[in-house]
Amino acid sequence: MLNYVWISLIMIGILVAAGNDVKDEVQNPYRNGMPMQATFVVHKGPSALRQAWEGELVISSEAFNGFYGIRTESTEVRQPVVVSTSAAGESSLLMQMKETSPTRWKEMAKSATTKDQLMGLIRSMQFSDDKRSAAITLALEPIRFTKFKAITQAALEYAATAVNIALGLIGIMALWLGVMKVAEEAGLVRVLTKLLTPVTKAIFPDVPAQHPAVGAMIMNIAANMLGLSNAATPLGLKAMEELNKLNPKVGTATNAMVTFLAINTGGLILIPATAIAVRAAAGSANPGIIIGTSIVGASCATIAGILAARLLQRLPAYKRALEVKNG
């Protein structure tokens, strides 16, 4: 199943990206090669060293929206810009994207030659009498294949993120595996396990009640409920390792593993701290109002996950996958 999900994510991703890029090619939403009119307000004129003007491009919101056929800009566009002239007499401009830059330009700059900068050629520049401003006609660099560029970048970035996440786990993994090892040797995990035997026996009938896996699973679920994700992952991985010792078929998930993961993906948490923090930051009058609703949602998810795992494991195809072939 994971095979299908995985290949679908990649195939759909690449096909949709291709479709979007072809659509862009036809509709030309970035107006590649089309001349744009703007007013250039000069802040700093050219010096002896450099034939460049610094200033702002000013375009009225109607003109900007009209040019791109959008409705996103509500105020006048004022974009810092550097205009420079080469020895051959050709003028070009460079715009560094800022927080206040128009959304459409920011989008375009993401797939521009230099990230977050838009370049362009100046077709004509007519200075006013006082040399403080100029009416210019410009053509921005063509923006093409934005989605293909984006997926290439995403693939590379996410591969690096994956390694960073895994490496970041080393320290916490070591800490918790060490603590758990001590608890195991001291027989503490067994005490904990005994207390919850009726519950664990019902959810994980395939796992012997006194097995170390049970202790690790209980600790993992407790840590998850308290929102201690730093502790939960190492304890969960410890539980997987213990469950794998009971696995008759290496490389294949057992029923207990799937049930355990269903509980984990349900993500029951007593205080959804991240969501509350974001709500508080957004100026909520009552950030904690979602505690109750989240517990209801996550409980439903967890119960549905356990039931689904227990029911699906009876399907013949999934049963067969766990059978060990003789000979």
């Binding site: 992952t233 696995n247 996950g305």
Partner: protein, 181 residues
Amino acid sequence: MADFFRTLITAISIVAIPLVILLFLTWGFAKKVKVYEVFVEGAKEGFSVAVRIIPYLVAMLVAIGIFRASGAMELLTAILSPVTNLIGMPAETLPMALMRPLSGSGSLGIMTELMKVHGPDSFIGILASTMYGSSETTFYVLAVYFGSVNIRNTRHAVPAGIIADVAGMLAAVGIVRLLFG
């Protein structure tokens, strides 16, 4: 009542880790376990487990990254919105429901954005944050947990995880509509 519950749980989560470490280690010491040596023995595993996860995590995150960057989410939202309209789920929150199982940072971004646009105490704001709290990043959990023990045939784990996610999202819509709708 709700405030008391919240303060209590927050207090427990703050003291939990130091207390558990203290309890486990002193208990072990009292039981004459050679705590330092045993700790180091266990901790040794940390490196190999983390490194073992890398290929699984790379495979999963790259696929999710490509999917997200392609704009496929917008397409999926457009296809699914007639269905979700029927159950009273606002179309704005559909990307949230779709992103939650795929990417933690992605769904966090969507939640933040929805709150910025609609306000945290609006119906959409409450629903989005409830959805965020109602589920985990299923595919990340699958990749990390199964990766750590080199499991490649995940059997019914994906359907079970997706059923859990769908149930969580539907329950979130139901309860938020009931209380704040």
